[in-house]
């Protein structure tokens, strides 16, 4: 990972982490915590998180993006956002 991409990845990860922690009543969130299996992202919060990601990172999600692998954790979401923006996480 280049230093530029690493910095971008850190910024994305922290932005998403802050949004989740300010929306869901949990004390902390590790980068590899599974957002779905843990119940952090349920059917009511999923679209709010998606909307936040779309707006904050200026990307548009479509049907091809609907993969659990893209959003299962902070790290997965970060890699997905970088990929959508034409960058690679590593």
């Amino acid at each position: 990972m280049t230093s530029v991409n690493a910095a971008a990845a850190d910024a994305i990860r922290e932005t998403v982490r802050h949004f989740i922690l300010s929306s869901i009543n949990i004390p902390n969130l590790d980068a590899d915590d599974n957002l779905f299996e843990s119940g952090i992202v349920n059917s009511l919060f999923a679209v709010q998180l998606m909307t936040f990601i779309e707006k904050t990172f200026a990307i548009e999600l479509g049907p091809d993006d609907l993969e659990i692998e893209n959003f299962k954790s902070l790290n997965a979401t970060t890699a997905f956002v970088l990929k959508k923006n034409g960058q690679q996480a590593g």
């Binding site: 949004f19 922690l21 300010s22 929306s23 869901i24 009543n25 349920n42 059917s43 009511l44 999923a46 679209v47 709010q48 998180l49 998606m50 909307t51 936040f52 779309e54 707006k55 479509g62 049907p63 609907l66 993969e67 659990i68």
Partner: protein, 384 residues
């Protein structure tokens, strides 16, 4: 409220109110009595561009903003909740498809939906699954051959199902939720009209029964596992906004009918409006109308801006206006007295329709559960 609207939004609202005054209000009681919307008024709604107002021009829609969408719902809701129900479900299926449909699906289905050449219906609720969507029992199974699915199950209380040419059906594929487009003419699909409803009597509700209905896998909207978490919420968000604004329109109807009656109806030497207890009822109604207008505008603008809090704003607006509409309709009947209890008075219809507003697109109690949880969850966090 008007000062928050652009000139264009005000003009479209005024045009829609004129449309309602000419084409809806004089006939709404008859539609209610007959429990049916005439095809001619659906055609008029379509020709005016209202059924595809929120869809992009590329698909034959008007590309209007969501504040305008809310205003149209309010204007129509002033005239007929049942007719507004057509706009509600057309928007629910259209916007879910716009967001999660494939290019092929969008090219095929959105233009006829935008132009009103086809009515859509959102087939989510089941006899045993209303608020508890995880309890869906409608089942998709792979059909022999691989490129199709077999659909079995039942749906109930499906608005516009009597009119719809296509259904967005939600069910389960194994343990995963699935949404799929099912054309009306598909063999094995039976549609049974529901009559005798308390309100929304002309909205064309029906029960659906699917018996080995074969649908192409190409009709799947989104992907398996995302129907309840991503596809349905897009439609339901528009459903909540539409219902919130339609409820606001009904509230406006109650207010306007009540002040007109109070200003002219005499009791002895005084008008009804000179009585303090009637003024109290009208004061609450007018204040709720003003408050509801701001909540609806806020919900529409949040959705337009794609703000993460748009969900909460839509819940808040729908929760407020549906309850306020019930209160206003009850008071509007009370103010009119006996004449408000007869089908010749629109307030009698408002009274029945308003109660439905508290049930569709999430009951009042579900809204309280969600909003209460969200508000309490803010404790100790920044930005509250």
């Amino acid at each position: 409220m008007q000062h928050l609207l652009t000139d264009q939004q005000q003009a479209r609202y005024a045009a829609c109110r004129e449309f309602v005054a000419q084409n809806v209000e004089p006939f709404a009681d008859a539609w209610d009595s007959e429990q049916k919307l005439p095809a001619a008024v659906i055609s008029l709604l379509a020709r005016s561009g209202y059924l595809g107002g929120s869809l992009p021009a590329a698909y034959g829609g008007q590309g209007w903003d969501i504040v305008t969408f809310g205003l149209l719902n309010e204007a129509l809701g002033r005239g007929s909740s049942a007719l507004t129900g057509v706009l509600t479900v057309q928007s629910m299926i259209s916007m879910a498809l716009l967001k999660w449909g494939t290019d092929e699906q969008k090219q095929r289905w959105l233009p006829p939906l935008a132009k009103g050449e086809m009515i859509g219906a959102f087939a989510l609720t089941e006899p045993g699954a209303g608020s508890a969507l995880q309890s869906l029992t409608t089942e998709f199974t792979p059909a022999p051959g691989g490129d199709a699915l077999l659909l079995n199950g039942r749906k109930q209380w499906i608005t516009c199902a009597q009119l719809a040419g296509v259904f967005l059906v939600f069910g389960k594929l194994g343990k995963q939720s699935l949404a799929c487009l099912v054309p009306r003419a598909t063999p094995g699909l039976e549609i049974e009209p529901i009559q005798g409803l308390l309100g929304f009597r002309a909205s064309g509700l029906a029960k659906l029964s699917f018996s080995n209905v074969e649908v192409p896998a190409a009709n799947i909207v989104g992907k398996p596992g995302f129907a309840l978490s991503h596809v349905a919420p897009v439609g339901l968000q528009y459903g909540r906004i539409s219902t919130a604004c339609s409820g606001l329109g009904l509230l406006r109807g109650c207010f306007e009918a009540s002040i007109a009656y109070a200003a002219t109806r005499k009791i002895g030497e005084k008008t009804v409006g000179e009585l303090g207890m009637i003024r109290s009822l009208i004061a609450r109604m007018g204040t709720d109308l003003e408050a509801g207008s701001f909540l609806c505008h806020n919900a529409c603008r949040s959705e337009q801006e794609r703000a993460p809090e748009a969900f909460e704003k839509a819940l808040t607006a729908k929760y407020f206006t549906s309850r306020a509409a019930v209160k206003a309709a009850s008071d509007a009947v009370q103010i009119r007295g006996a004449s408000g209890c007869h089908e010749s008075s629109p307030v009698a219809r408002y009274y029945r329709d308003a109660k439905i507003m508290e049930i569709i697109e999430g009951t009042t109690q579900i809204h309280e559960e969600l909003l209460g949880k969200m508000f309490v969850g803010r404790a100790g966090r920044s930005g509250n």
